[in-house]
């Protein structure tokens, strides 16, 4: 829509201005790590951050959410659709791609009104990543090093100022009446071009093959012995899915108060890596081993999501790799499959099955 320049010196004032109108959330430093949290004062905000422990997803799909409240005696039920006008500042480009996928999932088939309510009242201010945020990230390989077009505002660090891309009316509203910004000069344009040109070489490709080959590679890899090897070391803890910005599976349970009639039905994050996730009555488990569950997770990230939603399910943030105690990572997994494929092992194992 339009492009503006905001001096860094104006940021605290802007955040304060936003705080008067919205809940403002952004990356903050907590015990040596970075977490998205409500910004109490502008100096808590750290826009130049290595990636956060949990993605900003938690504001769209809370870890625990009440779906409706009920009175079992009178069969009264009331939907609980919650939202709070929120601005999320400093969303990395990979996380923006992840939100794009979540948007698609929650609008496909039936619309999930709980997600929608959070999403519609959330304004996303993304930030251009100018250097790799952590050792485990591989966004360049996954094509998520640039922002998708779903941002409301997008910031680019130009040294003493930010370039501000306005992507929507919601974004525009964040700047309305805020006077310390100006239209870019030709020098500003030159600077932003320079920053963008210099950024690319700082990131490296970490997949040893082109990501467009990943779904095919996975399709061939159903019977790879790699899954058993991963299954042997995986702890089945589910940490990898808890931190993933594209995971959205949930469990549902009823909670009743002391009266035993009034209560609520809630949903909480769940993980396909936990053993009982796919168990049905009679005890049959459709993914009974950690090997099968690992395979499911990587297939879901690299293949199934593409088939179901047209978007790849992994955005290369590297959080799962950082969180896994036994160092199972998507990059190593995908590269190892590729290496075995080059050696002919994958096709051999497929033939034998």
């Amino acid at each position: 829509m339009s492009f503006k320049i905001m001096p860094k010196a104006a940021l605290p004032d802007w955040v304060t201005w936003l705080k008067n109108r919205y809940r403002v959330v952004g990356p903050t430093a907590r015990q040596g790590q970075y977490v998205f949290a409500e910004i109490a004062s502008p100096d808590e905000l750290v826009l130049d951050y290595p990636t956060s422990v949990l993605p900003p997803k938690k504001y769209l799909l809370p870890q625990r959410e009440t779906l409706f409240t009920f009175d079992a005696q009178s069969m009264q039920m009331k939907a609980n659709i919650e939202w709070e006008p929120t601005v999320i500042l400093g969303v990395h480009t990979c996380d923006m791609h992840a939100i794009r996928l979540l948007d698609k999932v929650h609008a496909t088939g039936y619309t999930d009104q709980h997600y929608q309510a959070h999403r519609q009242h959330t304004t996303l201010v993304s930030i251009e990543c100018l250097s790799p945020c952590m050792e485990q990230s591989f966004c360049k390989s996954m094509g998520t090093l640039t922002v998708p077009e779903d941002y409301d505002l997008h910031l680019t660090d130009l040294g003493d100022s930010y370039g501000v891309d306005v992507g929507s009316e919601k974004g525009e509203a964040l700047l309305q009446g805020f006077t310390a910004i100006w239209d870019p000069t030709s020098e500003d344009y030159q600077r932003i071009n320079k920053v963008m040109a210099e950024k690319w070489p700082r990131f490296s490709y970490r997949l040893n093959f082109d990501v467009t080959e990943l779904p095919d590679l996975l399709a061939l890899s159903n019977n790879s012995s790699l899954w058993n090897e991963l299954g042997d070391i995986c702890l089945g803890c589910g940490q990898c899915t808890k931190v993933c910005p594209t995971c959205y599976c949930f469990d549902v349970r009823d909670e009743v108060d002391l009266s035993l009639t009034k209560g609520q039905r809630t949903r909480t994050w769940d993980s396909c890596q936990i053993d009982r996730f796919a168990t049905v009555a009679g005890g049959h488990n459709f993914r009974s081993t950690r090997a099968l569950r690992n395979r499911h997770r990587f297939m879901r990230k690299g293949k199934y999501h593409l088939e179901a939603y047209g978007l790849i399910g992994c955005v290369g943030c590297g959080r799962c790799a950082a969180a896994c105690l036994v160092h199972i990572t998507p990059v190593d997994t995908f590269n190892e499959l590729y290496r075995r494929h080059k050696k002919g092992e994958i096709l051999e194992e497929a033939k034998q099955a």
Partner: protein, 283 residues
């Protein structure tokens, strides 16, 4: 004006059930009961055989349960057959006529009944699989003239687990149905066939060219019955299953029922073999 129950999913939350009343409860076996559930006045279920509903006992939880009555016999009310296995199903078994439940659905796409017309139909229910298949069987029997031969091969683990005994007695009487039954383990009362459901196949003549087979039962049964059906030359697209998966939402969001890129709750639970044969996790 009747409102379809499904329309309620468009209301404020897709997860919120609609209250409905139990009007009758009938013991089928020691573990299974048949519930008749009446929709609120003005509501209609309008289901297809093979679809399921999410049933809530508020305060306990929700579980997916197949609709057991046929569309031809359910109007303002329908039936479900529930096996007592855990928290929700136990709570349901404690309910008496007059008690209220919550309903969502119907979910899934069900069986493509119109594609079965004009064909011979072989039903292979195993155990509790008869509960969902009963919906399709009775739909077919109520429109008997639209189908060719109707063959039912029913297997349970023991005679005490036989469901819908009254209806089975009627089916056995009819000359336009070929009905055979077997149990894995017999007791003193049993004089019929003993053995798994595949031991019934030699009892019927199968002309594969014009036959649809519909198989619903426990996961272990599928591979064996499938081998039999393929061996007889029935087309892959004419062999239908219904899959059970862990389900929480019914609307393709919670991920529990995912089978490859497919959500069983929405894209199934019924599938033809042709549709799923490439899916490693299906059978």
């Amino acid at each position: 004006m009747t409102t379809l129950l499904k329309e309620t999913l468009k209301h404020s939350s897709i997860y919120m059930p609609t209250p409905a009343r139990i009007t009758a409860v009938k013991d089928l076996t020691a573990l299974e009961k048949l519930f008749t559930i009446e929709l609120p006045s003005g509501f209609s279920l309008n289901h297809r055989p093979g679809q399921f509903v999410q049933i809530s006992v508020l305060g306990v939880g929700e579980a997916p349960i197949s609709i057991s009555s046929s569309p031809s016999r359910s109007n303002g009310s329908f039936e479900v057959c529930v096996r007592r296995v855990g928290s929700v199903t136990n709570a349901m078994h404690a309910l008496k006529p007059g008690a209220m439940l919550g309903l969502r659905g119907p979910f899934g796409r069900g069986f493509p009944v119109e594609r079965f017309r004009g064909k011979d139909i072989l039903f292979v229910p195993g155990g509790l699989g008869l509960a969902p298949l009963r919906s399709l069987i009775n739909e077919v029997l109520d429109e008997r003239g639209k189908y060719g031969r109707v063959i039912i091969l029913y297997g349970t683990r023991s005679p005490s687990e036989i469901l819908f005994r009254d209806e089975i007695a009627q089916w056995q009487q009819r000359t336009d149905i070929e009905f055979h039954m077997t149990v894995d383990r017999a007791d003193e009362s049993w004089t019929g066939n003993v053995g798994v459901v595949t031991t019934l196949f030699p009892k019927v003549q199968i002309h594969p060219r014009n036959m649809v087979a519909v198989v619903v039962g426990p996961p272990v049964m599928y591979r064996f019955v499938l081998m039999e059906l393929l061996g007889k030359g029935i087309a892959e697209g004419n062999i239908w299953f219904s899959f059970e998966r862990h389900m929480k939402c019914g609307v393709g969001k919670c991920g529990h029922c995912q089978m490859h890129h497919i959500y069983t709750c929405q894209d199934g639970p019924s599938f033809s073999y042709a549709e799923i044969k490439h899916l490693e996790e299906a059978l």
